[in-house]
């Protein structure tokens, strides 16, 4: 069986692309930390938007169009 994971990691977007593109995060854990901080920074906004959706869906049964 071929080692699919290592085959994937060798795929290039175009010839030579892997030499041109550099990694932003050294370790995957660094990336996960970045993602957690990012999520925390938008959590309240997402909660506000969830409220807006609930208001809209409750209101959706009230107006009749004829």
């Amino acid at each position: 069986m071929p080692d699919l994971k290592s085959t994937e990691s060798e795929i290039e977007l175009f010839p030579g692309s892997n030499d041109l593109l550099e990694s932003v995060f050294e370790k995957f854990q660094d990336y996960e930390r970045f993602r957690e901080v990012f999520y925390e920074s938008v959590r309240e906004d997402l909660e506000e938007l969830a409220k807006a959706r609930r208001i809209s869906e409750e209101e959706a049964m009230r107006r009749w169009y004829r």
Partner: protein, 488 residues
């Protein structure tokens, strides 16, 4: 002049002795005052000749006739008239030659024998209408034949309510569904009576005659039954973001059902004033320049202007409603769009502020001045198709975008400057529209004049793997234009 007045296809040439009233006489007894007023207001000065196709069997009217009108004691005629409009005074012989008739073809209107409104399926080419100059809107392409001559029409479908089987809610749904089924093979054609049946499991009492109308919820449900993933937005829920979100969906080429407190119509395009003075904010959305929307209101005529503020309309081309009188809208999203406009907007704005991927950290050019952002949804396929022609500011960016596997739908936020907007762009953020709002790392690429970052891992369906590329040169490039037809 009327050529062949007593034939099955009279041809009317408008002149001093044969004004519009001569045409209406030929259309009796089906034509009524309201339909005549609307058609004339829409096409006066544009149409030079009209072919009147008698005994036309219209599939939409036949649908309501079979299921509703035929069950009445006093039944209207089962057949209709179809009026074909031309902007040149074509002869009867010209009508046999598609190469002559096609360039002059403005579209058609079916005249039903229904009261109080007779206007049935209508397709009028917006490119023939001078009041729409500068507007951006969606159209669908339909092929028809006129006594065997093949003709093509690009238009947004219009129909008026018959007040029996359909009122404004069903008519608006019909216009929306017919646009999608004419334009995309994925959606099947739905006829007016079928629309009344889409809500039969979600109704109180009978579904026709349709005099009680439909609610937002029922219209959303009809969209769902028709294969869409509808989202309902109300002004009370979304407050100051409401108009921007409506604009964003229209800019995405998605026609929406827009509603006032008691009436609903289809919003299918917009028009902007780019000479407006910019506010002092660091970032300005392109919706700031919006001056109103183009709507199909079943009580009026195709392609009315809906101005920003409600006011007494100067002409029948302008709606008696305003954007400020809209209370809700329904966006009929394609099934695979899981990320809504409001979530994409919040996530992108946060990303532009981010210490790692934001403007300040990566773009001297863009962080040192005010920027204008333009957000829209499109398919990965359409976005890629336009890459070569647009150039994307740097050949390397174009090459990477073309190579990168992309999802079926993507959100794009283009970035520009007051100097370049609206003709040139300086970068963009691409976001996977098949992600949900809690996947805050759903972006595909971040591109500024000096910087490109990509999530190569997600593109290859593996763990996220963010790569960056520093760009040495940059040329501002054309905005993405494939979502809406620009009328010049």
């Amino acid at each position: 002049m009327i050529d062949g007045e007593n034939t099955l296809l009279p041809l009317v040439h408008f002149d001093a002795s044969h004004p519009w009233d001569a045409l209406w006489k030929l259309c009796q007894p089906s034509m009524e005052q309201h339909g005549a007023t609307m058609l004339r207001a829409r096409l006066d000065g544009v149409a030079k000749a009209v072919a009147v196709e008698h005994h036309y069997i219209d599939r939409d009217y036949r649908d309501t006739f079979s299921h509703y009108h035929s069950k009445r004691f006093n039944t209207p005629n089962s057949r209709t008239l179809r009026l074909h409009f031309f902007d040149q005074p074509l002869s009867r012989k010209d009508l046999l030659d598609a190469s002559v008739a096609q360039p002059a073809y403005c579209g058609y209107a079916v005249i039903r024998p229904t009261r109080p409104i007779c206007l049935g399926r209508t397709m009028i080419s917006p490119t023939k209408l001078p009041d729409l100059k500068g507007c951006l809107l969606r159209v669908s392409r339909e092929q028809i034949t006129l006594q065997g001559t093949p003709l093509e029409i690009e238009a947004f479908p219009f129909i008026s309510q018959d007040t029996d089987a359909t009122v404004c809610a069903q008519s608006a749904l019909w216009m929306l569904f017919r646009y999608f089924s004419t334009q995309y093979a994925h959606y099947h054609e739905i006829r007016p009576f079928e629309i009344t049946q889409l809500t039969k499991d979600y109704s109180i009492g009978r579904v026709y005659p349709a005099t009680s109308g439909l609610t937002d919820w029922q219209m959303g449900e009809a969209c769902r039954q028709a294969g869409f993933s509808p989202l309902i937005y109300t002004r009370r829920g979304y407050g100051s973001d409401f108009d921007h979100l409506l604009y964003t969906y229209i800019e995405s080429g998605i026609p929406v059902l827009a509603a006032t407190s008691d009436h609903v119509f289809v919003a299918l395009g917009h028009f902007s004033d780019y000479s407006k003075t910019l506010p002092s904010a660091d970032r300005v959305p392109s919706s700031f320049f919006n001056s109103g929307f183009i709507i199909n209101d079943d009580n009026r005529m195709p392609y009315q202007h809906l101005p920003s503020k409600k006011a007494a309309p100067a002409s029948l081309q302008t709606s008696n409603h305003g954007v400020d009188s809209l209370e809700s809208f329904i966006a009929p999203l394609p099934e695979k769009v899981f990320l809504a406009a409001e979530h994409q907007e919040k996530l992108v704005q946060r990303l532009l502020d981010d210490g790692t991927f934001g403007l300040a950290a990566n773009s001297l050019k863009l962080s040192s001045q005010q920027i204008i952002t333009r957000s829209f949804l499109t398919s990965g396929r359409s976005f890629k198709k336009a890459i070569q022609a647009r150039g994307m500011g740097n050949p390397r960016v174009a090459e990477i975008y073309r190579s990168l596997p992309m999802p079926r739908f993507i959100w794009v936020t283009e970035i520009s400057t007051p100097k370049e907007f609206p003709d040139r762009m300086c970068g963009e953020v691409l976001w996977d529209a098949t992600r949900n709002e809690h996947e805050v790392d759903g972006w595909i690429a971040v591109h500024y004049p000096e910087f490109l970052a990509l999530d190569v891992g997600s593109a290859l369906n593996t763990l996220p793997n963010i790569k960056k590329f520093n760009l040495d040169k940059h040329t501002p490039y054309e905005p993405y234009k494939s979502n809406l037809e620009c009328l010049i």
